[in-house]
């Protein structure tokens, strides 16, 4: 259960949903802040406009009236200057901004304060610049925050104020709405996001499930969903391509190790079997010598197989340094002919070198000697007795030279020719090992030739002639 939760928390589905929802929440908060300040500004502007309008109207009324405040004499109608002023501004105050606080100063003397001010003085000492006739101030009136405007004109100073409680209330409700909505939005977006990403990622789950099932044993199975042309489809296609490449290598490796094991097991079988039989009961010294001789041959065969396997694995891992040098072909081949002559003695096969090319080839002498030795060795092994193996070089054109090794003999069946360079491949009839091969010689040759950027071909006319030719680039 805990594992599942951990698994879920670390899933892309959860993470992307969380990211997406958090982003959504941040955006919502930013929007809220923006709306808050914008609304606050707008409402304040509206309020200020109303205050200004009222202040102007009051100023207009009091200045039009030309009231003689300084020489005011109380009479039966007006007991105080306040009454006179109230009469003048009555209409304006009564029908416009109700609940507004009004104070009028004349020559710094308070000549009118609205009743709701309760003797509080609205006058604030801030100086007014020449440009701006109005000055605004936020202040408090018996714990009530108010917005106040001062209009100065001649001897008059008009103060009009209004509680900003309304603005605060509106904005507070807005904040409340956002505070309530934010978690709801967050929650909804998480659910929505989960559902959407679950849908999008369900195919990933299918891919994961399938890849979990694939092992070295069932590499021929495919992940489904290749038909879609979106990212998933492409991913699946590439994964399938990768699987089939892995399969090819694994098949090749399996085949190689089976073949290698087979090649190694045969001499081991002989060693073990012959020794066991020899030890089973007393034998004549001649019998023991025969067993020892045979065992010696088999240990040599084992060494040869292992050497070849090492060589091939070195080639596979590019661990061989090629040391190219300029080689004079005619003398090089003559040298090989001299050195390998001895191989033909037993079967009375004569090794003939025919090379008058006057060509120089850049190559690794040691590796090429090994390649040609393998070819000559094969030619003698599979050649008819009392015959000739011919090593021949001819110039094909200005920059190519052909070196061939040919013998007379049974030849290679046509259908086997494409396979003879494969590792451990041996033509059926040659498998009884009177020839003692291990099936690696030609693959070694092919590897060496390939490393020189050269090509090798085999031609065989059954029961007549077989020829292996190497086409090399030469120094022109």
């Amino acid at each position: 259960m805990l594992g599942n939760l951990k698994h879920f928390i670390s899933s892309t589905r959860f993470k992307s949903t969380l990211w997406y929802s958090s982003l959504f929440l941040v955006l919502e908060i930013l929007l809220g802040i923006f709306i808050y300040f914008y609304l606050y500004g707008t409402m304040l502007d509206n309020l200020d406009y109303g205050l200004k309008t009222q202040a102007k109207a009051i100023l207009r009324l009091v200045s039009e009236k030309h009231m003689d405040i300084e020489h005011f004499v109380p009479d039966s109608v007006y007991a105080a200057p306040e009454d006179l002023v109230w009469d003048v501004i009555y209409n304006e105050v009564a029908f416009n901004l109700r609940n507004s606080f009004i104070q009028i100063n004349y020559k710094n003397r308070n000549i009118f304060s609205s009743d709701n001010l309760n003797d509080v003085n609205l006058a604030f000492p801030r100086r007014i610049s020449a440009v701006n006739l109005f000055d605004f101030s936020d202040t408090t009136l018996s714990t009530k925050p108010i917005r106040c405007v001062k209009l100065v004109s001649g001897d008059y100073k008009i103060y009009v104020a209004f509680p900003i409680q309304n603005i605060d209330q509106t904005l507070n409700s807005l904040v409340h709405i956002f505070i309530i909505l934010a978690p709801i939005f967050f929650f909804v977006s998480i659910i929505g996001g989960s559902v959407i990403s679950a849908k999008a990622l369900s195919r990933i789950d299918a891919i994961i499930k399938k890849t979990e099932e694939i092992t070295a044993q069932n590499l021929d199975e495919k992940i489904s969903g290749e038909k879609y042309s979106d990212e998933y489809g492409r991913l699946v296609k590439k994964m399938n391509e990768m699987i089939s490449r892995i399969k090819t290598s694994i098949d090749y490796m399996n085949q190689f190790s089976i073949s290698a094991a087979h090649e190694l097991k045969t001499p081991l079988t002989i060693l073990r079997g012959e020794t066991e039989i020899a030890l089973k009961s007393p034998k004549t010294p001649e019998d023991y010598i025969e067993v020892l001789k045979s065992n010696y041959e088999e240990t040599i065969r084992l060494t040869k197989i292992i050497d070849n396997l090492f060589f091939i694995s070195k080639i596979d891992h590019s661990l061989i340094d090629i040391k190219k040098e300029k080689v004079v072909i005619d003398s090089f081949l003559a040298g090989i002919g001299d050195n390998l002559k001895i191989l033909g003695v037993e079967k009375k096969i004569k090794l003939v070198v025919d090379s008058h090319t006057h060509s120089i080839v850049e190559m690794d002498k040691e590796l090429m000697t090994q390649a040609l030795s393998n070819l000559v060795d094969n030619a003698i092994k599979y050649g008819d007795e009392n015959n000739v193996v011919l090593i021949k070089a001819v110039n094909c054109d200005i920059n190519k030279i052909k070196i061939s090794v040919a013998n007379k003999g049974e030849g290679i069946p046509q259908d086997a020719i494409p396979k003879i360079f494969d590792r451990f491949y041996r033509v059926e009839s040659s498998r009884n090992r009177k020839t003692g091969g291990v099936g690696l010689g030609l693959s070694v040759v092919k590897a060496i030739v390939g490393w020189h950027g050269a090509e090798i071909f085999a031609n065989s006319i059954p029961n007549s002639e077989t020829e292996f030719s190497i086409i090399l680039n030469k120094e022109s």
Binding site: H262, T269, E276, K280, R431, N432
Partner: protein
């Protein structure tokens, strides 16, 4: 007992043959699938030992071919291929047993004995007729507590007669099962061996075990 070895690796075939001969078996060798099929269908063998990877015809095909011709000789497959898939394929194609190379020769012999026992009623490593006992493992022969020393050929003839006790065995059959392919069946060598055998196994007071069936061959009677 006559064994056919079908194996392309000459040295392997030759040490198996040598080892079998030391165990009083007669053995023929075929070096490829085609030759093996020819031998298996034209001669009579008690067991066939064959390699799987053979030139011209692989072991699986060869066994199927042999079984198709209704030859039920037990087949022991010998191969370097040791995967379960290969074992299953070998046994399914009609082989009776499967041994992977390199193998211990003792195991090969033990498996051969097991295959030979399959056709018999008694599943022991001893053959008994009356008071005559052959221990197939040690090759010791006793009659009434008396040890009998036999040459390999005499032993092989006696073993074959014991395995087919109470049945008439022809001279040709004996030669086929005791000698390898290169033996001339027209000689009277069997009669010579039978006489020698009789003198060795029948003590003065004992009942003769090997009876001559005139014009046909011999029969070892188990009266017990």
């Amino acid at each position: 007992m006559r064994i056919l070895i079908i194996e392309d690796e000459k040295k392997v075939a030759s040490f198996i043959k040598k080892g079998l001969e030391e165990e009083y078996f007669a053995a023929d060798i075929a070096y490829d699938g085609r030759e093996g099929l020819k031998f298996a269908t034209s001669e009579e063998y008690d067991v066939i030992i064959m390699d799987v990877m053979l030139p011209y015809m692989d072991g699986f095909t060869l066994v199927k071919e042999i079984r198709k011709q209704n030859i039920l000789t037990p087949v022991l497959m010998l191969t370097v291929k040791d995967s379960i898939k290969d074992r299953v394929e070998g046994l399914d194609s009609g082989a009776d047993d499967y041994l992977t190379k390199p193998f211990a020769f003792e195991e090969l012999i033990a498996r051969l004995r097991a295959l030979l026992r399959r056709n018999e009623s008694s599943k022991t490593s001893k053959l008994i007729a009356g008071d005559l006992v052959i221990d197939l493992l040690s090759h010791k022969i006793t009659r009434n507590v008396r040890d009998i020393i036999l040459t390999p050929k005499e032993y092989a003839i006696l073993e074959y007669l014991m395995r087919n006790r109470d049945k008439v065995v022809s001279r040709t059959k004996l030669i086929e099962h005791v000698y390898d392919y290169h033996f001339d069946t027209e000689t009277n060598i069997i009669d010579v061996y039978i006489n020698k055998l009789r003198s060795k196994i029948d003590g003065p007071e004992e009942k003769p075990l090997i009876n001559t069936i005139r014009g046909v061959g011999y029969m070892l009677k188990d009266d017990s």
